[in-house]
């Protein structure tokens, strides 16, 4: 236990300054004991909100909230996709560590892959992680995936590693999408092995760089102009 461990309560209660908050979050990534303790505090307090007395909500509150929603035109989407976020998603410390490990592994694989395909001049130091995300599984699936956006020299690449993908029928495939605004772009096909694990590395040459949502759907054909099938995983990056 070091000095930062003592800040956990004040972190939980948001009484730290912004600098202290950042300092503790950096500490949290490297301190399994604080990670466990934070989960314990959350578990110990999870019942407490239900102690609240049920009180009448002002009758016009709902109307006020709905009236203040920004007007968003309905899009004629084939399927409903998560919209882009304003900021990069903050990952929990544990998932950050997992993602960091996976990133190292994927970068190494990408590097080794390009080493064997051609004679690259790319140094590993040119590969930079821009964004990362754990994709959330949709209803009825236990699948999971980590998506990462890396800059490799002047090119952005989407790296995606999925596990526990359900077995597909013969005429189906897993299509990866990135969404820029409301416009989806196909970004590779995941070909899972017999254990449901598959990895995709896809250059994002046609995009302006403002996209920040990744999804995987089940499709009958590859690289459609828009998704038509069921979403399996989705998340902001």
């Amino acid at each position: 236990m070091n000095e930062s461990c003592h800040m956990l309560i004040d972190y939980f209660n948001r009484t730290l300054t912004e600098d202290e908050m950042r300092q503790f979050e950096n500490h949290l990534i490297e301190c399994p004991s604080c990670q466990e303790e934070l989960i314990e505090w959350e578990m110990l307090t999870e019942d407490l909100p239900y102690e609240s007395e049920a009180i009448e909500v002002p009758t016009d509150l709902k109307a006020r909230i709905f009236a203040s929603l920004p007007d968003i035109p309905e899009q004629a989407k084939v399927v409903s996709m998560p919209t882009k976020e304003k900021s990069r998603r903050r990952m929990g410390p544990v998932t950050s560590l997992l993602a960091a490990g996976l990133f190292a592994s994927l970068v190494a694989n990408a590097f080794l892959f390009s080493e064997t395909q051609k004679q690259p001049e790319i140094a590993q130091s040119e590969i930079q992680l821009i964004g990362q995300s754990i994709l959330a599984p949709q209803e009825g699936t236990s699948a999971s995936a980590v998506a990462m956006l890396i800059a490799d020299g002047n090119q952005n690449i989407l790296l995606l590693d999925a596990t526990d993908l359900p077995t597909l029928s013969k005429d189906e495939l897993y299509q990866v999408w990135v969404i820029e605004g409301d416009q989806p772009y196909p970004a590779g096909i995941v070909q899972p092995n017999e254990t449901g694990t598959g990895t995709v590395s896809h250059p994002l040459t046609d995009l302006s760089g403002t996209w920040d949502t990744v999804a995987i759907t089940v499709e009958k054909e590859p690289n459609l102009s828009a998704p038509e099938g069921q979403i399996i995983l989705a998340g902001g990056i």
Binding site: Y50, S52, A54, I55, E56, S68, T83, E85, G92
Partner: protein, 187 residues
């Protein structure tokens, strides 16, 4: 037909599906508002918190993923954090005496209140009543008032180093009583 679950409604909400947002809103409005009121002891602040929590849900500012646990627990954590921020902004929480909540509270008989909430409330209140007064107080200062460690130490006249242990002990004791009464399920 089964109703869509929270996670499904959440993803449809961040995709700006008003109908799903409304379902989610109707499901949690009362709980969020009541909890925000419990935290702030102030109707105006509770309204502001509720509005902020749901608007951020719609705008996708507060991002939920299933690795963060149950959706309802996450939503209540967001509500608590916002309530604490509002309290801090008002700079009143540490100095104002507790209001007589009974004079402001209307006990509801609405059927909108879920059976689960009623059941959990009864179990938790019974369990809290079994705690010693100082344990009740430290939970209140820590969880519902969001005091810092040093403020709790000052308030309870405890050495700073023992505050965390006392809170943990009180919460574990409470959890133990709740467990014995067996009425609270997180599923």
């Amino acid at each position: 037909m089964t109703e869509p679950d929270d996670v499904q409604l959440y993803y449809q909400t961040v995709a700006h599906n008003r109908h799903s947002f409304e379902q989610l809103y109707d499901r949690y409005e009362k709980l969020v508002f009541s909890f925000a009121y419990r935290m702030t002891n102030n109707r105006t602040m509770a309204e502001e918190v509720t509005q902020d929590v749901f608007l951020k849900l719609w705008n996708g500012t507060n991002h939920y993923t299933e690795d963060k646990g149950k959706f309802s627990s996450w939503l209540l954590t967001v509500t608590r954090n916002k309530s604490i921020d509002e309290l801090r902004k008002s700079k009143r929480h540490a100095y104002e005496p507790m209001l007589d909540k009974d004079s402001l509270t209307e006990e509801t008989v609405s059927t909108e209140v879920t059976a689960e909430w009623n059941e959990r409330r009864e179990v938790i209140r019974t369990a809290i009543a079994e705690l010693r007064a100082e344990q009740r107080e430290i939970i209140d200062l820590f969880y519902f008032k969001g005091f810092s460690q040093s403020k709790i130490a000052e308030h309870c006249k405890l050495p700073l180093g023992t505050v965390k242990g006392r809170i943990r002990l009180a919460l574990k004791h409470l959890k133990g009583i709740i467990g014995q009464e067996g009425g609270v399920s997180n599923e």
